[in-house]
Amino acid sequence: MNLSIKIKDLVLKNPVTVASGTAGYGEELSHFIDLSKLGAIFTKGLTLQPRPGNRGNRIIETPAGVLNSIGLENVGLERFLSEKLPFLKQAGATVIPNVAGHSVEENVELCRTLSSLSEIGAVELNVSCPNVKEGGIIFGTDIGLFTNLVEKARTVTRCALIVKLSPNVTDVGQFAARAEAIGADAVSAVNTFLGMKIDIRRKKPYFGNTVAGLSGPAIRPLAVRIVYQIYEAVSIPVIGLGGIASFDDMLEFIMAGATAISVGTMNMVDPGISIMLIEKFGIYMESEKIGNMHEIIGIAHSPGGLSEECP
């Protein structure tokens, strides 16, 4: 059965991918799964220089979720190209690097270099980083900064460009529509929600960075709602993620409008989950006699659009 999907010219074998930051560079995950079976692997957020990440506490469990403040620890572009990419290619993986620069120039440089490589069919622009050159405002939460960044990135990106949206805004649909207007080939949603934990013993924030990103099943209903909203706002593919922990969860995202999905936090709990989802998806398509996945993408939408009533 053909489960493949397309993002511009890039063909994914199936719609199941693993999310950035929850799959490393594939090496450790490859002890548990065959990376070549995945639709794609989104690698850890990349910066030009290696980054050590945040000091102190970096992760803690919350009810059905996780707060993380890793601080983008990553190997930097050079080692990514010399060590990580060759490994992933040899493993037969479809690789989508997650670009996480902290200035427009850094993101431009990363997109330019990565997209010029024949091994890379798409890059994912992570707009949840602060713009350190201009007051540390998160690119993805200010429509002006966002527009400027996506425009510059689009100009230099020769392969498919996926923009990973921040959920920490009032209207994600507006940001998705802007990305589409600039020429992005897909959007992914959601990145982590801003959260916080207070260490009541020490009477101060648990994380050195004060705030942290919330992920896992705890955020799933929020993420499904956002994917649904984005689907109403754009016609480019949406990659849906946020707390997917079962095949039913994956179907929710597809019916809300996702063309592909990513497993994030649940890789940490069950490293084999992505392969299980691919198998179940194949069985589902067959048993439901669905010839083409597009028959169910966004099927939950009613012609009237989003309700304007109070909940």
Partner: protein, 252 residues
């Protein structure tokens, strides 16, 4: 999937021994297994536990009940248990050495598998078993059997020598004559051990907070003289003198 052979057995106040049919005979002292305590995703993350013993395919762990996950495990029914491992990098093993070993509380767990292995390698073992009070001592006879010298210390003097295991260990270490020191326990204890050891190599087994336990999240990274290391992959056992101990206090 691994199976819990029998009901967890209480071996000391709040401490439970779990015997698991693991399906493998391979592991090394200092390695751990990572257990999912709920299928309902709450508690969500797996919980890491050091291998206490491994005989043929049966692995055992000692679980101290400190929160939701460990409490669920202490009451886990016999049958399938969602454990992955062995994971991580264990202790350095060498034959015919004089070794000093200091365990604190539930941190004694990985050290049992260690001394059993070292005894088989004809090491001379001095074991310091530190706990807060008598009712927290688990399976002392088993430890004793594999040690050449076995000393229990309790903070309140309710059993053995009164005081910290590190106080006794520091005195012994200062006297020299050991080829190697191994320790696992509370952070201040391991740090004190490393400082007391002077030029004797010390291996410590860390128990900082883990996210995935398999190397994919970088949630467990610690600062060492060799750069950042993921404790779940490069550790949990580290050369104590390479750890930046000042940076550790914030991550417990």
């Amino acid at each position: 999937m691994p199976t819990l052979i029998e009901k967890p057995k209480q071996v000391a106040y709040g401490h439970f021994l779990l015997r698991i049919e693991s399906g493998t005979e391979h592991s090394a002292p200092g390695q751990f297994i990572n257990i999912r305590t709920s299928r309902q995703n709450d508690p969500l993350l797996r919980r890491p536990f050091s291998i206490f013993n491994h005989e043929r395919t049966v692995m055992s762990i000692v679980v101290k009940s400190v929160g939701r996950g460990s409490e669920i495990l202490s009451q886990h029914p016999p049958g399938a248990i969602d454990a992955i491992g062995p994971l991580g990098t264990g202790f350095t093993l060498a034959a015919n050495r004089r070794v000093l070993i200091a365990g604190g509380g539930v941190g004694n767990a990985p050290l049992f598998y260690l001394i059993k292995t070292l005894a088989g390698l004809h090491c001379d073992i001095t074991y310091l078993y530190g706990v807060r009070a008598k009712e927290l001592v688990y399976l002392p006879e088993q430890y004793k059997r594999h040690s050449n010298r076995f000393i229990i210390t309790t903070d309140d003097g309710s059993e053995g020598t009164r005081g910290y295991a590190t106080d006794v260990a520091s005195e012994l270490a200062a006297g020299g004559g050991y080829d190697m020191i191994y320790t696992c326990g509370p952070l201040p204890m391991m740090r004190a051990m490393v400082e007391a050891a002077k030029s004797t190599p010390v291996e410590v087994s860390l128990e900082n907070y883990f996210g995935c336990g398999i190397g994919i999240c970088s949630g467990c990274s610690i600062e060492t003289a060799d750069g950042l290391k993921r404790a779940c992959v490069s550790g949990p056992v580290f050369n104590g003198s390479r750890i930046n101990w000042d940076s550790m206090q914030d991550i417990y």
